[in-house]
């Protein structure tokens, strides 16, 4: 179930804020939606990659002679065949589409085969022999930080070191009645989008057209343009239906697009490259594992006086988004609590594991796990209620964040959320009642809350564009570089156009993204799709609306400010009886040569952050949320069942209650996996163990609890209709609510995710022995 709590009476909207059906659902339920692998074109070749055989070493020789003998092989490419730039990646270009000199993890690509059949390409890839000069392997980021550790890149293993220095920690610890130190760890997580990465590249004259499983088509275009050494207008990337992403179809998926394009360029034929699940899990980047050490001072009455923090994240073989992920962890390092004195050091480090990158949450979930566990540990020491300790320290209007930013200009709703959610969940009563459980199966209830900087913040150029075009029959085509991956971007952008132009949503179709006509809108990441995409569509639709209103004003003999667009009709406020249908007006506009096509450009407010001092305004606004989880733990077996999750979010304005609810359900499912079972495992030598869903297990239907979703709306001045973020918050703080509930049920605290039954049993046994 779900409920939207609207605080104040606001302007009545006709489409935005309504539970509209997903605009791309009909195609998806009837099998007419085409995903990348569903495209077949005449004369196409199949391409397969050859991955590295060892996790670290120089390539001495690549012998393709046996592979070339396989019948049907058309072309085998190695790094030498790349005509353009050899190293790509953002913000640090250290990634290679095909590795030339040195392999740094087991997922590096050393060669690509294109053949007439998939079987031939696979067979040939297996016959490619690579000779290496092996190098020592380092898998532990703390080992990699040491002076004498093997260097993975020439620049050294520490990619980024961010600092926070606020107040005086020594003074803060002196003021404290208690000082505790805790270490928390998190694991590698695989995105587990169900559609493996793929691309189809078609040479058309001197252009390359690409259909790809890319979250960010404009990034795929950039990487392909650089790799092939051709300008951007010669690369056209089209995003078909995308089978999930969660941050996971950027770097790797872009490389797959560039590789297919390279093979198409080299052979002059269309080339299709579809990864197997094993290839995908071997090569694609993961969520960062974190080591987090917190020293915390607090008073008897529960006030936090100081935090000294050291965080080390494993970036793996390439930097990818690691510095940006670390940025978010750094500026949100105390969670949603005001801490007067902070000394924080944050490192991201190269190793020879799979690389880490963007994944839903982007450096927040790890920090939330540490801070939210910590709050419960402090509450336990003080004999306080976890809700009470949170309310004691949570942000309010005017609070100062670790970077010195004063929270203002939006409603700082975290306290409101905590109180409301605790009440809805009947927290006090359950907390007491479950504490009395004595049998094998014990109940627990846990809370967790967070705030999140909205959109890219000072880490990136924050813009988006959209085109709105009204056709002569009054129906509307819109496009933007903001992409659809299942989250419902097309739907909310369509709602926005329909709202502004006063037509039913059926009048609107979103086309693209297609990099040759959809405006570059920056990446669809950082829970910015609704905010930035709807923002840009709104601007464009308003431009078209004004032109139509001016034309209608002439018809109605009035001024354009008096023109109303409503339910598919246009009329003057002065004389509502005399109306014209929206399609009729569009037709008249065309006959009179009025331009009904406009580009909208939406900019996030300007902000600045100094990486040296850690000071500044990292984000222009924030969103707030909390989860409460109820669990049952069998203390004999260690089995955990999540029985119920309550989630409350303040996304500013809920543009679509139906799809918003779906985001939260999905986030909860992913959060349960993060808390209890998911872990991408690598053996002691750098070889992955969990390469398919039989070993890497995500949550199945029977493991889902009942979920209640609440939205507390506080429209934000910076977003369209007051909307800000939801996609990542839906996941961000689910896991610690569950581990806190487990601690409540069992009296033992798992400080490293996932909280498997083995870990719980071990802790219970240790507790028993201490008695």
């Amino acid at each position: 179930m779900s409920k939207v709590i609207v605080k104040e009476k606001e302007r009545v909207l006709n489409v935005v804020g309504h539970p509209v059906n997903r605009v791309d659902a009909l195609a998806k339920v009837t099998g007419t939606a085409k995903f990348t692998a569903d495209y077949y074109v005449p004369n196409m070749l199949y391409a397969v990659v050859k991955h590295a055989d060892i996790p670290h070493g120089y390539i001495k020789k690549i012998d393709t002679s046996e592979a070339e003998k396989v019948e049907g092989v058309v072309k085998i490419a190695t790094g030498k065949d790349i005509p353009g730039v050899k190293k790509v990646g953002f913000p640090i270009p250290d990634e290679e589409v095909i590795v030339q000199e040195k392999v740094r993890y087991i997922g590096d690509v050393v060669a690509i085969v294109a053949a007439e059949t998939l079987e031939a390409a696979r067979k040939a890839a297996e016959k490619i022999k690579v000779e290496y000069d092996p190098l020592p392997v380092v898998l532990d980021p703390e080992e990699a930080m040491k002076e004498d550790a093997p260097k993975i890149h020439d620049s050294g293993n520490i990619i980024t070191h961010f600092k926070i220095r606020k107040g005086d920690v020594e003074k803060g610890f002196k003021e404290a009645d208690y000082v505790i130190e805790r270490e928390y760890r998190t694991q590698f997580i695989e995105h587990s989008y169900l559609e493996p990465v793929a691309a189809l590249a078609i040479p058309v004259g001197d252009m390359i057209e690409i259909y790809g499983t890319v979250q960010n088509p404009h990034n795929a275009r950039r990487i392909t343009s650089l790799t092939l050494g051709i300008p951007m207008h010669k690369v056209r990337v089209i995003q078909p239906a995308l089978g999930g992403s969660f941050g996971g179809k950027d770097d790797t998926a872009n490389f797959v697009a560039a590789r297919a394009a390279l093979m198409a360029k080299l052979t002059g034929r269309p080339v299709k490259m579809v990864y197997t699940r094993e290839q995908d899990m071997r090569e694609s980047y993961k969520r960062h594992p974190y080591i987090m050490r917190y020293k915390v001072g607090f008073t008897k009455d529960g006030r936090i006086t100081a935090m000294e923090i050291k965080v080390i994240t494993n970036a793996g073989a390439y930097s990818s988004s690691s510095p940006l992920v670390l940025y978010r962890s750094t500026v949100q390092c105390t969670g949603t609590y005001e801490v007067p004195n902070i000394k924080g050091d944050f490192y991201t480090v190269y190793t020879n594991t799979v690389f880490s990158g963007a994944m839903r949450g982007f450096g927040a979930p790890q920090i939330n796990f540490a801070v939210e566990s910590l709050m419960d540990e402090i509450a336990e020491i003080l004999g306080m209620d976890p809700v009470e300790i949170r309310l004691k320290n949570a942000y309010k209007e005017g609070s100062v964040t670790p970077t010195g930013q004063v929270l203002k200009g939006h409603v700082v709703s975290i306290r409101d959320i905590i109180k409301k959610l605790a009440e809805i969940a009947d927290w006090k009563k359950k907390r007491e009642e479950y504490s009395k459980d004595k049998g094998d199966v014990r109940r627990g209830i846990g809370i967790s809350c967070a705030f999140r900087g909205v959109s890219l913040g000072a880490e990136g150029a924050d813009y988006a564009g959209a085109i709105v075009e009204v056709f002569e029959d009054g129906h509307i085509s819109i496009t933007s570089g903001i992409s659809e991956m299942g989250q419902g971007a097309k739907t909310v952008m369509s709602q926005t156009a329909a709202e502004v132009l006063g037509v039913p949503i059926e009048y609107v179709t979103f086309v693209g993204p297609d990099t040759s006509f959809s405006p570059d809108s920056g990446p669809t990441v950082a829970s910015r799709g609704t905010l930035m995409g709807c923002g840009a569509v709104k601007v464009a639709a308003e431009v078209v609306k004004e032109r139509m209103a001016k034309y209608a004003a002439k018809l109605f003999n009035t001024t354009y400010e008096n023109i109303v667009f409503e339910n598919g009709y246009v009329y003057s406020k002065k004389n509502p009886e005399n109306k014209i249908s929206f399609p009729e007006l569009a037709k008249k506009c065309y006959l009179d040569r009025v331009n009904l096509s406009a580009v909208g450009w939406f900019l996030a407010p300007e902000i600045h952050w100094d990486p040296e001092t850690g000071e500044g305004e990292p984000y222009f606004t924030y969103t707030y949320y909390a989860d409460i989880a109820e669990v049952e733990v069998n203390v004999k077996t260690g089995d955990v069942k999540v029985k119920k999750v309550y989630a409350m979010h303040d996304p500013g304005k809920v543009v679509n209650p139906k799809t918003a609810k779906g985001q939260v359900y999905g986030g909860v499912a992913m959060g349960i996996g993060y808390a209890l079972k998911e872990e991408y495992k690598i053996d002691g030598k750098g070889y992955p163990i969990t390469l398919n869903f039989d070993k890497y297990q995500i949550v199945r239907a029977h493991e889902m609890p009942d979920v209640e979703v609440y939205f507390l709306e506080n429209p934000d001045p910076s977003g369209p209709f007051g909307a800000k973020s939801l996609g990542e918050p839906a996941f961000d703080t689910v896991a610690p609510a569950i581990t806190n509930a487990i601690a409540h049920a069992t009296g033992v605290r798992v400080r490293s995710l996932p909280a498997t039954k083995d870990k719980i049993l071990k802790l219970l046994k240790e507790k028993e022995e201490r008695r």
Binding site: T30, E195, G667, A701
Partner: protein, 159 residues
């Protein structure tokens, strides 16, 4: 081998076909039925599910030799964009679709579950769709959509 199959009520005859060819490859590569997805190729994710004589089968681990003479149903056979099946409409209405990659398999499971027992409970649906993975929806809207369809079938039956 010689193969005869009925896919979405249409008869297909192949004079000579590799008996070990996977059903998913026959459907996608030979017949162009691309609603049948490939997710893991070892039978764990379930997105390749089709109904063979009314029963869910994972087409990525099923050789075509096993389906000779049988009736296969995919979502293309259930309804069309012009005339969607009620179950497909419930999937839209209940927002049981996000990225859409597991959707065809989930719909086929729903069809199978309700055909078997229109009195099915939400708890039973939850267990019965467990063979198919979904990373987007948290399964809840899918369960609700299938339950709504079951109630619809019951109402229709009672009329």
């Amino acid at each position: 081998m010689k193969l005869t199959i009925f896919v979405n009520s249409k008869k297909y005859e192949f004079e000579e076909i590799d008996p070990n060819m996977r059903l998913v490859d026959l459907l996608r590569d030979k017949l162009g039925i691309t609603s049948v997805k490939i997710g893991c190729e070892n039978g764990t994710c379930g997105v390749c599910t089709v109904l063979v004589d009314g029963v869910p089968v994972r087409s990525c681990i099923t050789p075509v030799s096993k389906v000779n003479g049988k009736k296969i149903l995919t979502v293309e056979g259930l309804g069309t964009p012009e005339n969607p099946h009620p179950l497909q409409k419930f999937f839209i209405e209940y927002d049981a679709v996000q990225c859409g990659f597991c959707t065809p398999a989930m719909i086929l499971y729903g069809y199978y579950i309700v055909k078997k027992n229109p009195d099915v409970t939400k708890e039973e649906i939850k267990k019965m769709i467990s063979p198919v993975l979904c990373r987007c929806t948290g399964y809840i809207p899918i369960i609700e959509a299938i339950k709504a369809y079951a109630d619809f079938v019951k109402r229709r039956r009672e009329k």
